[in-house]
């Protein structure tokens, strides 16, 4: 009997720990960035910068505005954020007892897509893109990360991902931007 009670206490302890872990895990934000690129981001690519965003912090640091570049050599950077908030119907949230032990009441997803176009003559001749898909769940105890914080994190991840892609492709990209004309006219023609 005593052994049975002890086992019961152990199971109760494990259940509490399990529920707490599940609740805490539910609040964490999952992040997936594609393409999966690693590498240095210390290089510089020069051209005329075009950026419609208002916060320069989200601009890849590898992009350098160079007034001396050919007039039609443009590095155009843009991003967009798409939100998706899914909640269980309020009626369910209010009556479901599982929410009391941390079961998620909904999820919030945010997709940040960044794109760098290397332009010559008004046409994108080379593009780099990255997407950060982020998702967090919320419970009656925690809302998890706010969309504002997720957006900032996603924009920085996309920024650095694109910077790494550019650095890996620097000779080709810079050659496109530096060419006196593009497409380059072969010698003798």
């Amino acid at each position: 009997m005593h052994r049975f009670l002890l086992r019961g206490r152990q199971w109760r302890g494990r259940l509490v720990v399990g529920v707490l872990l599940a609740a805490l895990n539910g609040c964490a934000t999952s992040v997936f960035v594609t393409p999966q690129v690693t590498g240095p981001i210390e290089c510089k690519v020069r051209g005329h910068l075009s950026y419609t965003g208002t916060n320069a912090e989200y601009l890849p640091t590898v992009l350098a505005d160079d007034p001396a570049s050919p007039a039609d050599s443009v590095l155009r950077y843009a991003y967009r954020a798409d939100y998706d908030l899914r909640q269980l119907p309020a009626e369910v949230q209010w009556v479901n007892p599982l929410h009391l032990i941390g079961m998620p009441t909904g999820t919030g997803a945010l997709t940040i897509a960044g794109r760098l176009d290397v332009m010559r003559g008004g046409v994108a001749v080379r593009s780099f893109a990255a997407v950060a898909a982020m998702k967090r769940s919320q419970s009656m105890f925690s809302e998890g990360e706010t969309f504002t914080d997720m957006r900032r994190r996603g924009l920085l991840l996309v920024r650095d991902n694109i910077a790494a892609q550019v650095c890996a492709d620097l000779p080709t990209t810079q050659a496109i931007l530096d060419a006196a004309t593009y497409p380059a006219v072969p010698a003798g023609e």
């Binding site: 954020a81 998706d84 919320q138 504002t148």
Partner: protein, 319 residues
């Protein structure tokens, strides 16, 4: 057993109906025809939901309170270009940031979810086609057209507690202020605390009627009149009396179970080179709501103490 099951059904239903107290007034949604130049237009709305419909929450823009967002309500915010954060907080915080461009339109949808003690607000940016469809049935909240940098001052969701006190409440005869002896009342408070709170959160202001200065003038004036009447020499000399209000606080500190409606008054009476400090303190405990009716007895008790102490102090100063 049957009545018990009826109650089990009826109580939650009653509760749900009580919760439905969303935006009842204001014009139906109309797109803004002439927004300010060089601004983006952000519509913040909450569509109808029976559950949590009675709860509204304050939406802040870049940390500045903009408007309360009730169920089925909306407000329009004219934002300057740049990153603009819309946030709301109850026991949890929600926020969403837009990169606003001049001349463009944005929609933010508000909802409310279950929380431990109060519902959790949620704000999310939605595509314009969805926003336009969902906002159609919403009504504009009061002061619901807000331009960045010109946000209205908000009192909060609670009405002010107006506490009306007359001299008769203190057991004193009404006096004709025109016949009062010369008395200068100076408000020297550096920190005015006239507020109802619950666990540190504001529940609105407390307003005394008449105001604190007029109330003190009436009480001290009446006592001065009494004292001068009993000291003929003081009346002949007509020495000016000054009364400085050092403290006049009406607060409602609370625990999880009750509020203590509290009034603290501290005055300094000056006659010539002499001065006396007088104080009054009144407390009234309530387990329900620190309304004006609860606050009044505490304020009256404090004013009575001040009146009694002032009479003695004035006698000493004028003799």
């Amino acid at each position: 057993m049957q009545s018990l099951s009826r109650s089990i059904v009826a109580i939650p239903l009653l509760f749900l109906l009580c919760l439905d107290a969303g935006a009842k007034s204001g014009p139906k949604f109309e797109p803004e025809q002439s927004p300010p130049a060089d601004h983006g237009v952000v519509y913040v709305y909450r569509d109808f939901n029976l559950i949590g419909g009675g709860a509204s929450y304050m939406v802040q823009v870049n940390g500045v309170p903009a408007a309360y967002l009730p169920s089925h309500g909306y407000f329009v915010y004219f934002a300057k270009p740049g990153e603009v954060e819309f946030s709301a907080r109850t026991e949890a915080k929600t926020s969403v940031t837009l990169d606003v461009e001049a001349g463009k339109t944005y929609f933010i949808k508000g909802t409310i979810g279950v929380g431990v003690f109060v519902g959790h607000p949620h704000l999310v940016a939605v595509p314009n086609d969805i926003g336009e469809a969902e906002i159609a049935g919403c009504t504009l909240v009061a002061d619901g057209r807000i331009t960045m940098g010109q946000e209205p001052k908000h009192k909060g969701p609670f009405d002010d507690a107006v506490v009306e006190i007359a001299l008769t409440d203190l057991g004193m005869a009404p006096v004709d202020t025109a016949t009062l002896p010369p008395l200068e009342v100076i408000d020297k408070r550096t920190d005015v605390r006239m507020e109802r709170t619950a666990l540190g959160k504001t529940m609105g202001a407390v307003v005394m009627k008449p105001g604190e200065v007029e109330l003190v003038r009436a009480v001290i004036g009446a006592k001065l009149q009494q004292v001068m009447a009993s000291i003929p020499a003081a009346a002949e000399g007509a020495t000016p009396v000054a009364c400085e209000i050092v403290q006049f606080d009406v607060t409602t500190p609370s625990t999880a179970l009750y509020w203590d409606a509290t009034t603290d008054i501290a005055l300094t009476l000056r006659v010539g080179d002499g001065e006396r400090a007088v104080k009054g303190h009144g407390v009234k405990r309530t387990y329900a709501n620190p309304s004006a009716k609860v606050i009044k007895p505490a304020a009256v008790a404090a004013l009575k103490q001040v009146a009694d102490a002032s009479e003695a102090a004035l006698r000493e100063l004028l003799q």
